[in-house]
């Protein structure tokens, strides 16, 4: 049941009616039932995986919480009787018990993800090694269901468990509430990756009907459908042609494919997130934002604070900080400082932790070397930028260009090119093919395709190009307008006929220009496969 299917729209209509018709205490149980129905419709076997993750997460979190509560009560009762050292020793023993529950919960949750997502990738690499050594029969691949969105709900589960361990949230006593937190259907398949402390504020609360809130939610959904159906799905056939045969479509075609894919991914992913947040908003539930006009970033570092924010922040809070502030890293820092000097020692925790984060980010995106190289490519560029900081500072002291509009445009353009080039790893079958395709941009010399009509042979007509250009321009204008605040609020402040005309025009645009119709199968959202 894709977000773009008629079944899903029917499902939503029935759900919204029931959600506001039932007593408010029945709203979150209804959402749990609807979420499991939604997920079960995709494939009933997926339910087993999410139930296993839910059970493990709930159980481990409860044990951690009970231990923490018991520790508090014990120390309160024996405050006078125990010395400071005895209290510290008791705390350390209890913390070790809680850590064991945490590690157990994480191993099961992440192990579940690792097995279904990476088993065949490992087998494929082992076969490559065996073949190179000329030894034995190749290992057989295994058939495992890859549950849709498993990477997203596993990360939410890990975040929840770690937060309970850190004591920043209290473990939920009701297992059905934990089940809803992990399975809430709008965000189940492509995020955003929510934190329990934030989402629980609105997920279980009663939400009386509010026409304004429902309208706002529907408006956000409509904007998401516009980006997905009018831009992303219209571009997709051309991208498949361009990246399907890198020998035939080399040189300037790669450049075209690169920009098409950059626009496609933005429209697809942000469109999907708009639909997700809009559905939740219509039901009074607040989900975290996942994008902040990322293609206007002036550096790669800034881009990663504005693109897929909930994933970046997840890696920062649950991988980067714990690793870089661990006692192992501290010992390593001291060792490097004493042997290699303070400059190297200072860089060790940051660089090593960043390397691990980017390796994990690449692996999270998919079981393929393309994603690993993509992750490490990001790492390399970020670290080189970090090392060049003194040079940039010297340049800016010499030339006063920092506030100039042309320089900002240059920075945004440079970052956009960099990000687009890195995204090529997502387009081609293997790393070698990606590098060959990228290299051909500078060697093929087939720039004539821009004026000899070749671009009309990619499955896009002149009308398609017109629609895409106008729609993309609209998205850019809306993004620029968002700098001054919410565009929906600005429209809402207009007289009723004006706002009705604007929303109706957008609705018509989706209806008339959306890439669907008889024989057309709206494509799955790109991030569903993660």
């Amino acid at each position: 049941m894709l977000f773009t299917s008629y079944e899903f729209l029917g499902f939503l209509v029935v759900l919204f009616i029931l959600y506001y018709a039932l007593p408010s205490r029945a709203q979150w149980p209804l959402l749990l039932a609807a979420s499991y129905l939604f997920y079960g419709c995709a494939d009933p076997s997926y339910l087993l995986y999410i139930l296993a993750t839910t059970g493990t997460t709930y159980g481990a979190a409860r044990f951690i919480q009970k231990n923490a509560d018991r520790q508090r009560a014990y120390l309160k009762a024996h405050k006078q009787a125990l010395s400071r050292e005895e209290q510290q020793a008791y705390k350390a023993r209890q913390k070790a018990i809680r850590r064991r529950w945490l590690v157990g919960g994480l191993l099961i949750g992440l192990g579940n993800l690792a097995v279904v997502k990476y088993t065949n990738f490992v087998i494929s690499n082992l076969n490559g090694i065996l073949s190179a050594l000329g030894q034995g029969e190749p290992l057989s691949f295994v058939t495992l269901a890859m549950p849709m969105g498993i990477s997203f709900y596993t990360f939410q589960a890990v975040g929840y468990l770690v937060d309970v361990y850190r004591g920043t949230v209290t473990a939920e006593k009701n297992p059905f509430r934990v089940a809803l937190f992990l399975a809430f259907f709008p965000q189940l398949v492509q995020g955003p990756i929510s934190r329990y402390g934030e989402l629980s504020q609105t997920l279980y609360a009663p939400h009386p009907f509010s026409a304004r809130r429902v309208a706002r939610g529907l408006q956000r959904m409509l904007w998401g459908y516009f980006k997905k159906l009018v831009i992303a799905d219209r571009l997709l056939p051309a991208i498949l042609v361009l990246t399907g045969d890198s020998a035939a479509y080399s040189g300037a075609y790669v450049l075209v494919g690169m920009f098409f894919y950059t626009v496609n991914l933005y429209a697809d992913f942000t469109g999907g997130i708009d639909i997700t947040i809009g559905i939740a908003e219509a039901m009074g539930i607040t989900l975290p934002e996942n994008f902040h006009r990322p293609y206007f970033s002036k550096s790669l570092k800034e881009y990663w604070r504005r693109w897929h924010m909930t994933m970046s922040f997840w890696f920062r809070d649950y991988v980067f900080y714990p690793v870089s502030t661990s006692s192992f890293m501290w010992k390593l820092t001291k060792f490097c400082r004493s042997r290699l000097g303070s400059q190297v020692g200072r860089r060790v925790p940051v660089y090593l932790s960043s390397f691990l984060v980017w390796l994990a980010t690449g692996v999270w995106h998919g079981a393929s070397w393309n994603f690993i190289v993509w992750g490490l490519g990001n790492f390399a560029i970020l670290m080189i930028s970090e090392e060049l900081e003194p040079l940039y500072a010297r340049f800016h002291r010499r030339f006063y260009v920092d506030g100039a509009l042309w320089y900002k445009v240059f920075q945004v353009g440079r970052t956009f090119l960099l990000v687009s080039a890195l995204k090529l790893f997502d387009c081609y079958a293997c790393v070698g093919e990606t590098f060959r395709a990228f290299g051909s941009i500078f060697t093929a010399g087939n720039w004539h395709i821009f004026w000899d009509g070749s671009l009309l042979g990619l499955g896009l007509t002149l009308t398609d190009y017109g629609v895409l250009a106008a729609s993309t321009l609209l998205v850019v204008c809306v993004s620029l307008a968002q700098r001054a605040g919410s565009v929906r609020d600005a429209i809402h402040s207009r007289p009723y006929p004006v706002r009705f005309a604007l929303w109706y025009a957008l609705f018509l645009a989706v209806l008339l220009m959306g890439a669907y119709g008889i024989g057309y199968d709206a494509s799955q959202f790109i991030y569903n496969r993660f």
Binding site: K301, D317, F320, Y321
Partner: protein, 76 residues
């Protein structure tokens, strides 16, 4: 406090840390700065700041960070 201001100034010599109240919220300090800062604080104050303590409230101003250091020193 003087030592903390020196550590911060080494990271960003162009920032006046005595009056900034949104070091994290305004993206003056990023995650890499925070890790470098924590290592320097460990050196100077012998205080371990863990991942649990890394929240914007503790890092948004020099005063808030100093309060965190004092609290952790007391707990030790």
């Amino acid at each position: 406090m003087e030592e903390l201001l020196n550590i911060l100034s080494e990271l960003h010599p162009d920032v006046d840390f005595t009056c900034q109240e949104g070091l994290v919220d305004d993206a003056i300090l990023d995650s890499m700065d925070i890790v470098s800062l924590i290592a320097a604080i460990k050196d100077v104050y012998d205080v371990s700041i863990t991942a649990r303590d890394i929240v914007p409230e503790h890092f948004n101003s020099a005063a808030a960070l100093y309060r965190l250091i004092q609290r952790l020193a007391d707990e030790d």
